[in-house]
């Protein structure tokens, strides 16, 4: 759709408005849930657009900021994007644990409420997704390893790291041991990540292992080995937390640390299958 031309040659005309949509909730959700949270345009109130059993969480934006031209350059501004992404998440996070949420990806912008209602009517899959996600939230679990600790531990298990390299032969032996240690390290990290993800997934409704956030070779004392997301029923989150505590206990001596984040809106559990 083409953008309406700016009606005045000098100064700005009244800026055109549009609606930014954060996601979908059941129609029974009280609008007051979003009463105090600022939208991606902080001067706008977040509201619900109802249609049938569904309600879209939306707030007003200016086309000066979110129109096709402006948004293209704004998307290249990291601080703008960071700020708006945070605002998007904050709106949905407000309702986590209080209603069921189907989160949309950043940037669903509509011209009017009527067009949002059309969307809610057309996407018949949204109701099924809401049903599937009812009573569930997302937790993030990241595992980090301190390689110095793990290396020392593996070396202790594998016997003394070797004599001083006084002879060529001793040197070669030591090199060989080091190489083996590197392999052991990589294998342990992979096994630990796999074991952790399996066990966390088993205590959740669903699990999803994401790409590691850390580039290879960064920070040896805090190397990410797992970046998982888990869909957990709010009435069963104790089991999930227990599974995490067990992992923390078991792997602590190996230098592995687990970070829990959330509860999040179930961002990781709505994509793909719902795509039309």
């Amino acid at each position: 759709m083409a953008r309406a031309p700016n009606p005045t040659a000098d100064g700005r005309a009244l800026s055109e408005r549009a609606l930014y949509v954060y996601g979908v909730v059941p129609q029974t959700t009280p609008a007051e849930l979003f009463e105090e949270v600022p939208g991606v345009d902080p001067s706008e109130r977040v509201m619900l657009v109802n249609e049938g059993e569904l309600a879209a969480v939306a707030s007003g934006v200016s086309l000066d900021e979110f129109g096709e031209g402006p948004i293209e350059s704004n998307l290249r501004d990291p601080s703008w994007l960071a700020e708006k992404a945070r605002a998007h998440d904050r709106v949905l996070a407000t309702a986590v644990g209080r209603t069921t949420i189907v989160p949309f990806r950043f940037g669903a912008i509509y011209r009017s409420e009527e067009q949002i209602r059309d969307l809610l009517r057309e996407r018949t899959d949204l109701s099924a997704t809401l049903g599937r996600l009812e009573g569930a939230v997302e937790f993030g679990v990241k595992a980090f390893v301190d390689r110095a600790v793990l290396r020392a531990r593996l070396a202790a298990v594998g016997g003394p790291a070797g004599e001083p390299a006084s002879t060529g032969r001793a040197y070669m032996q030591r090199r060989q041991l080091e190489r083996r240690l590197d392999e052991d390290l990589a294998r342990f990290e992979a096994d630990c990540a796999h074991d952790s993800h399996e066990r966390l997934s088993a205590s959740a409704q669903q699990g999803h292992a994401n790409t590691l956030q850390q580039p290879e070779g960064e920070d040896e004392s805090r190397r990410m080995i797992l970046n998982g997301a888990y869909l957990v029923r709010t009435d069963a989150d104790r089991g999930f937390r227990e599974a995490l505590s067990a992992l923390e206990r078991e792997y602590a001596d190996d230098g592995v640390q687990f970070d829990l984040t959330g509860p999040w809106p179930p961002y990781n559990f709505v994509a793909d299958e719902e795509r039309s």
């Binding site: 209080r98 989160p103 959330g262 990781n268």
Partner: protein, 111 residues
């Protein structure tokens, strides 16, 4: 920037309010996950994807972010395109605040 996340006026949810999230986690979810909806305004998702990668690298480590500093923004033709000069420092400050880096000390709680 305040975080209006911990509020109790609608009754306690079964799960308590969460800690302020790290920017990398927010970006990963808001820009990469969630249902893709083709709204009325067309957004170039490829732009978002490229920028997400860069942002992730940046926020992976607070020290790294400082190291990269202004050079990182200025030296990147992708990010420089379509931007006026002069506001770069201001942008970094805003991003640092958003990332919870805030001046010299890291304010994100660890663990």
């Amino acid at each position: 920037m305040s975080t209006p996340m911990r509020r109790g006026e609608y009754g306690r949810s079964p799960i308590s309010g969460r800690e302020p999230a790290q920017l990398a986690d927010v970006l990963e979810r808001v820009l990469d996950k969630g249902i893709v909806i083709a709204g009325d305004i067309q957004i170039n998702l490829l732009d978002i994807e490229l920028l997400t990668i860069k942002l992730r690298l940046l926020v992976a480590s607070a020290d790294k972010a400082r190291e990269m500093g202004i050079d990182w923004w200025e030296g990147d033709p992708f990010l420089k395109r379509g931007k006026e000069n002069g506001a770069i420092e201001d942008r970094i400050k805003r991003l640092e605040r958003a990332a919870g880096i805030d001046g010299g000390s890291r304010s994100e709680p660890d663990g």
